[in-house]
């Protein structure tokens, strides 16, 4: 086997180890330092730091799980986290109002139309202080979405979960599951 081919296969193996597409079964599970306890099965795709869970497909319901966002990195755009974007970056000393701004700006940049915060409240994630945010936005075709987010900073890094679904029927359909999931989120340092 040539040296180049060996390196290629090694890189491929490492990448496969990072990404984990497949089924998340009900029961306790670990996702990039977070302990979660879904009560129904979700499909997962993505890689460490940015996972997407869904039940009926991401257009109908999605739970995005962003973890380990460092000072100076993007929240949503995993692929460009280290590239320049004046302002739209997480800072470890941000207060909850600034995090709300960052999330709304990030959603806009990701293509959400007119994202609006409906409620921003303090939240506890185990012993850690966090926040809970409720949002509304539309996609480019005008379909209205609702979203529920849970975030906290641990070790100067932002962890953020965002559930979103079309506000008609789909958002409420799994809201109970997401509320239970959020209530049970724990950070395993």
């Amino acid at each position: 086997m040539s040296f180049r081919l060996s390196v290629f296969l090694l890189v491929l193996a490492l990448l496969s180890a990072c990404s984990s597409n497949g089924l998340i079964r009900p029961g306790p599970t670990e996702v990039d330092g977070l302990s979660l306890r879904p009560s129904i099965a979700w499909s997962q795709r993505g890689a460490k730091g940015e996972r997407q869970w869904t039940i009926d497909g991401p257009q109908l319901n999605a739970l995005e799980i962003y973890t380990g966002i460092k000072d100076g990195e993007h929240v949503f755009k995993f692929d460009v986290r280290n590239k320049r974007d004046e302002g739209l970056l997480f800072r470890a000393n941000m207060n909850t109002l600034e995090l709300q701004e960052l999330i709304i700006a990030g959603l806009k940049e990701a293509g959400a139309v007119d994202p609006q915060s409906q409620q921003l409240s303090p939240a506890k994630v185990g012993n850690l202080d966090g926040f809970r945010i409720e949002l509304r936005f539309a996609n480019a075709q005008g379909l209205r979405y609702r979203a529920l987010g849970l975030g906290f900073i641990a070790n100067d890094r932002l962890q953020f979960l965002l559930y979103y679904a079309p506000e008609e029927y789909y958002f409420d359909r799994y809201l109970g599951e997401v509320e239970r999931l959020f209530a049970g989120v724990r950070w395993r340092d």
Binding site: E86, G87, N95, T96, E98, A105, D114, S117, Q141, G142
Partner: protein
């Protein structure tokens, strides 16, 4: 002369010779009559595009403002008025575009930057030129022709073993395409200026507009993607030429007051969208220009304070604090200024001032969606945590 250079030059000349005849100007109320033509196909595509635009959530549903845009475009377009349909889209960039079927898109970032009706009329006249001269069709045909010739060049270059011929031909081909695009823009500027003058508007408007755009373009951070221009960037040449030509023409109306009255209710939202681009160096140039205008108000001063707070570079927090102070002397200032100043005061170590500002904000906006978080912040500030 080197054989490759001769070949490349010959092929480049061939490209130019095959440029084709541009379409004749569209008469009033024009529609392609032959459904089998490429133009009819293009129009059919545009019907779908227009449906998407009409139902896009980015479309601004402000009947008064759309009606105003139509009125100005009709003053400029005269006979062609009935052919035009305008869609105002909420996008914070300086852009307007004309489709071959008379659909015109105007972005809110353009309206934020335009200072008076004469400047708007020039932009609309410029776009009208693209419609009247069927420029979309001309460019589309040109692109198709260039690409097929370049594909031929690539095959020929390979067959002759002269890779450089293909490269040189391609460079010439694309350069010719871009030059053609610039020619169409120059003609549209000429036409816009001519229409502006015929409608009795101030001919200095285009020069003033493009000089202002050039100021913003000069400071653009090329590593950031969010430059303000949706299509072609401003150039110093364009600003200079339009300024000179405007000075040679008899004066006209700017209709500044009427324009400013029309956009005033939307300015706060457009400024917020502008800051959302996160290209602060350009936004700072724009905001400082807007603040020099007679219409400058608390809304624009608030946007500048927000820019400093969000950018948070050296000295920005102090600048933001001073700017919020100035905003809050105006009784019409947004109560959000208290909440934002509270954040800045916290960072500057003024905890009691921050707590007072948060409390003041909650009194002004009792049903604020972030009330629980602000109440927690007040508690932390007052308890010294």
């Amino acid at each position: 002369m080197n054989l490759r250079i001769v070949l490349a030059s010959t092929l480049s000349a061939l490209l130019l010779a095959c440029a084709g005849t541009p379409p004749s100007p569209a008469p009033v109320n024009y529609q392609p009559s032959d459904a089998s033509t490429d133009e009819a196909g293009l129009w059919a595509q545009m019907v779908k595009v227009e449906q998407t635009l009409a139902h896009s959530p980015a479309r601004v549903h402000d009947a008064g403002l759309e009606q105003y845009l139509l009125e100005v475009s009709c003053r400029v377009a005269a006979d062609y008025c009935q052919d035009l349909r305008i869609y105002l889209m909420r996008e914070p960039f300086f852009n307007a575009a004309m489709y071959p079927n008379g659909v015109m898109i105007v972005w809110t970032g353009l309206l934020l930057r335009v200072e008076d009706e004469a400047q708007l009329a020039f932009v609309l006249g410029h776009e009208l030129s693209h419609y009247r001269h069927r420029d979309t069709l001309a460019r589309w045909r040109r692109i198709k022709r260039t690409e097929s010739i370049l594909a031929g060049l690539s095959v020929a270059g390979g067959a002759f073993g002269a890779g450089l011929v293909g490269v040189a031909g391609a460079i010439s081909g694309y350069a010719a395409l871009f030059a053609y695009g610039r020619d169409l823009e120059r003609r549209a500027d000429d036409y816009g200026l001519q229409r502006l003058q015929q409608a009795g508007y101030d001919p200095s408007a285009p020069g003033r507009l493009w000089s202002a755009m050039w100021e913003e373009d000069k400071v653009r951070d090329k590593e950031l993607l969010s430059g303000i221009f949706g299509t072609h960037p401003a150039t110093e040449e364009r600003a200079t030429e339009l300024t000179q030509r405007g000075a040679e023409l008899p004066p006209g109306d700017s209709q500044r007051e009427r324009y400013q009255q029309r956009i005033a209710p939307s300015r706060a939202q457009w400024l917020d969208d502008e800051l959302g681009r996160r290209h602060y160096i350009q936004s700072e140039v724009l905001l400082n220009r807007l603040l020099r205008q007679p219409e400058a108000d608390a809304t624009t001063r608030y946007a500048l304070a927000e820019l400093y707070r969000l950018r948070a570079s050296d000295g920005d927090l102090q600048r933001a604090r001073a700017a919020y102070d100035a905003v809050l002397t105006d009784p019409n200032a947004s109560p959000n200024a208290y909440r934002q100043r509270a954040q800045v005061r916290t960072k500057l170590g003024d905890r009691s001032g921050a707590s007072r500002d948060y409390a003041h904000y909650l009194r002004k906006v009792p049903d604020a969606p972030e009330r629980p978080v602000i109440e927690q912040m007040i508690e932390q500030l007052e308890s010294g945590r």
